[in-house]
Amino acid sequence: MMLLAIPEISLAISACLILLCDVYFGAGRRGLSATLTMLALTIGVALTSRYGLSVHRVLLFDGLYVADPLSGFLKMAGFVAMATAIYYSQDYLEQRGLRGGEYFVLCLSALLGIFVLISANSLLTVYLGIELLSLSLYALVAFDRDSGIAAEAAVKYFVLGAISSGVLLYGMSMLYGLTGTLDLDQLSLAVQQRPDAALIIGVAFVVASIAFKFGAVPFHMWVPDVYQGAPTSVTLNIATVSNLGSFALILRLLTHGLAGAPAIWSQMLMAVGVLSMLVGNLGAIAQTNMKRMLAYSAIANAGFVLLGFSTADIAGYQAALYFTVAYVLTTLASFGMILMLSRRGFEHEEIADFKGLATRDPLLAAMMLALMFSTAGVPVFIGFWAKLWIIQALLGGGHVWLATFAVLMSVIGAFYYLRVVWYMYFEVPGDRTVPEPRKRLRFILLLNTAAVTIMGLLPNALLSLCQRVLP
């Protein structure tokens, strides 16, 4: 039974080992930790697929920990996403002298935090996971210690994150006070019997903290600054892998733990979701920095996920799961592209830096075109199905106006993704540098983009997988 926790166990052990190896052998060999981390992730995938997957819902450690098909799926996705993110980041880190062993250890511990969240079945486990994830991310954001803007971003992230943790704890304490249990299974039953004002306030605190993790309006202030300020490789982690954690958080805490009182949180999520789409999409239009634009796009996309959850039925959760996976897959490649195009001493992070990419490097431009249209939700890419399914879930829940609002917002969203395509294809290059070949990175990027396209042409496999793991 303990073996079901193998993903966490293997991650924790390998993080410690890598830290030690780095101390003893890392001095002359800077690539060592990166290689070991990739190895650790590979071993994690192998062990998880052999021992860590469960077809039934199994409780471990006195009900603190749950293993079900969903947790297996999300953890595999987490491994793959983290491995891809680290792969994309290597050159970037090396050129900036950031390729220390601590970086990778922090990445692994962030991933561990996400896994703990994914398998949380108690308020305590949830909190443990969130803190592990957040603390690792704060440190990662500040990892480039010579960069003022990164330090500023880290402080903002840390202060706001600490407040959000406090809010979460306060909400949890109210829930505990009302129901006398930390266990999410029991909590869900207990809240059914106590629909009073104190419960609403407790839930509101919890939802506020969740919204903070998602970067949803009105708790989105940190997102643009952190996305822009952090080293791009860290932004990549925050934008992709940690999204799986946010998804798990809301799934365990609200749709499972508070399943007995959906009316309370679903309206809150609806309001937060609508505001996020509005602010995210309108905010993104004004951006000139690619990372900042993607930050606002992340806010808008968080709105989509939250709207999926706000339906409070299984179709909406499945749609939100699919949306999250699709978003992670696409965003990995979008940031991978920024990393690919950055070079020593040059951060390729202004949208204007993309000017004329189609003539400088047609393949990369074509891939970026696919990614941007996918994020905009245009077929034939995976992003189309993600949005389609959310809209279908909203209509299925009877929210016709919400669905209409969502599609109208995605039209606004299309504009700023199109601007990237416009700069790449319609403008003459401002910077005439031909991107470095970096054959292996290019190949993985190509695979990633191909996945975005092929899963858009033949979406059924992933769609039905999402339906299977979240029955």
Binding site: V378, V407, L408, S410, A414, L418, F426, P459, N460
Partner: protein, 507 residues
């Protein structure tokens, strides 16, 4: 079922051809060009084969293929053509060939990407016309925006970025609401197949909303007044090939959508709101024709004339209820729809040909300003003959395809009521006015300036494509019977659907 796969070939062959063309890259542009032409020609050959094998006299879909595509959402890869869609498929395959030939030596900027974009467009557009599943239809419908966005944006005129963004956002806005309507209907029927959605009972209130959502999507594409403003911008800025595809085929998708979705899926709302479409169509026919008259840019003039001509399509499609009310029977009520389909095909050929003619002149003088020309007939007699022919066809000269479509629609409007006919027929006057005036200013008269005097007459390549188009225009004009026969059964079937109420309990 014996021809399994032949329709898929027509969809995916050009798309694959386009991808290969793109992969060949700009360094091998010569090979890419030949490869693109070969792809377009073989697609056309496959389409002609479909036409030959197509059995007339039935409203059944033919060459159907049905594969599981997205079982998780109950959507199938379900394609087939009937008498309404096959002519449009043929038109698409037919018009792509001249577009590729017309760009042969003229396109110097990234030629491989240029041909690739048009081939991919071709496949996606044929997909739109042959999809029998609403989600598949939407999939192709939206995907097609991507190559068009690139075409206008890369090879367009000075304000191309503005034009292409406007084009994309306008059409995207229209179609996302259609998506909401489609999903709404799917949730009621549990099936995305178009046939199931056509049979789904809906209350009048539901139909009204769905009708309006569809209308926005299709009206933007047609385009109908007052959502037409993207078209002149897109046309003026688009390269010649882009204009041809835009006018010849993309606009037809709006008309096709009205015939395939709006009318049969929301017949009661169509009956209730037909005055709206008819009013907008008549405004397009009368007002836009006057707008066309005052244009100083040739492409803009033809663009506005396209809007007016598409007004005939929407008018013909929606006159059916007035005809039934006026004559008291459904006998002969299909004539308007017949006219609408013929008008779509004919306008596709004529407007495409006119844009190619303008392209021929533009390639020589690099301006589309009418005042820069004059007396072209003196230096380009062969070209002048074609230009005059297409301009006359555009104003509905008998023995050209333009006459057939317009005549059928005006005939239908006579059946519906005298005033409809009077207003619609004003097109014959205004259309002749702007077309002939255009010809007078550009083609006839004395040679205007030295630049015009230096113009070369058509080369073999241009002569070839214009001759083929002229033959097609004349063939449909002189002997429209095969085409009318091909679509007759489907139009009758559509008529029946339109006249059957879908309100639960009413029928």
């Amino acid at each position: 079922m014996q021809h399994i796969g032949s329709l898929s070939v027509v969809i995916w062959l050009p798309i694959l051809g386009g991808l290969v063309t793109m992969a060949l890259g700009e360094r091998r542009a010569r090979i890419a060009r030949w490869f693109a032409l070969a792809s377009a020609l073989s697609t056309l050959a496959c389409c002609v084969r479909l036409y030959v094998l197509f059995a007339g006299g039935t409203a059944e879909f033919q060459f159907t293929e049905r594969l599981a595509w997205v079982p998780a959402l109950n959507s199938q890869y379900d394609i087939g053509v009937d008498g309404i869609s096959l002519p449009l498929v043929l038109l698409t395959a037919f018009m792509t060939v001249p577009v590729i030939i017309a760009g042969w030596t003229v396109v110097e900027k990234r030629p491989a990407l240029y041909y690739a974009a048009f081939l991919i467009m071709e496949g996606l557009m044929i997909g739109v016309f042959s999809a029998r599943d609403a989600l598949l239809f939407y999939f192709f419908w939206e995907a097609m925006l991507i190559p068009m966005f690139v075409i206008i944006g890369v090879w367009g005129g000075p304000r191309r970025v503005y034009a292409t963004l406007k084009f994309f956002l306008y059409t995207f806005l229209g179609s996302v609401l259609m998506l909401v309507a489609l999903i709404y209907m799917y949730l009621k029927s549990g099936d995305y197949s178009i046939a199931a959605l056509q049979q789904l009972p809906l209350t009048l209130a539901e139909q009204r909303w769905i009708f309006l959502a569809f209308l926005l999507a299709f009206a933007v594409k047609v385009p109908m007044w007052p959502v037409h403003t993207w078209l002149p911008d897109a046309h003026v800025e688009a390269p010649t090939g882009g204009s041809v595809i835009l006018a010849a085929i993309m606009l037809k998708m709006g008309g096709y959508g009205l015939l395939r979705f709006s009318l049969p899926m929301t017949p009661d709302a169509s009956r209730e709101l037909d005055w709206l479409i008819i009013m907008l169509s008549l405004i397009a026919i009368i007002y836009i024709a006057f707008v066309a008259l005052v244009q100083s840019d040739m492409k803009k003039l033809i663009a506005y004339s396209s809007i007016a001509h598409m007004g005939f399509v929407t008018l013909g499609a929606f006159l059916v209820f007035f005809i039934v009310a006026a004559t008291g029977s459904s006998q002969g009520a299909g004539v308007g729809m017949d006219g609408a389909v013929v008008q779509m095909i004919s306008h596709g050929l004529i407007s495409g040909a006119l844009f190619l003619c303008i392209g021929v002149m533009y390639d020589r003088l690099h301006t589309r300003d009418i005042s820069a020309y004059g007396g072209v007939i003196n230096v380009m007699p062969k070209f002048a003959a074609f230009m005059v022919l297409f301009a006359l066809a555009n104003s509905g000269l008998p023995a050209t395809s333009g006459f057939v479509g317009e005549f059928l629609v005006i005939l239908a409007s006579f059946k519906a009521g005298f005033w409809f006919a009077l207003l619609a027929a004003s097109m014959l006057v205004t259309g002749a006015a702007y077309n002939l005036w255009l010809v007078k200013r550009v083609i006839f008269g004395a040679v205007a300036n030295d630049k015009v005097a230096a113009m070369q007459d058509l080369n073999a390549r241009e002569l070839l494509i214009l001759s083929v188009l002229a033959l097609a225009v004349l063939a449909i004009g002189i002997w429209p019977a095969p085409m009318l026969r091909m679509m007759d059964a489907s139009v009758q079937h559509l008529l029946q659907q339109v006249l059957t109420s879908k309100i639960p309990g009413a029928a």
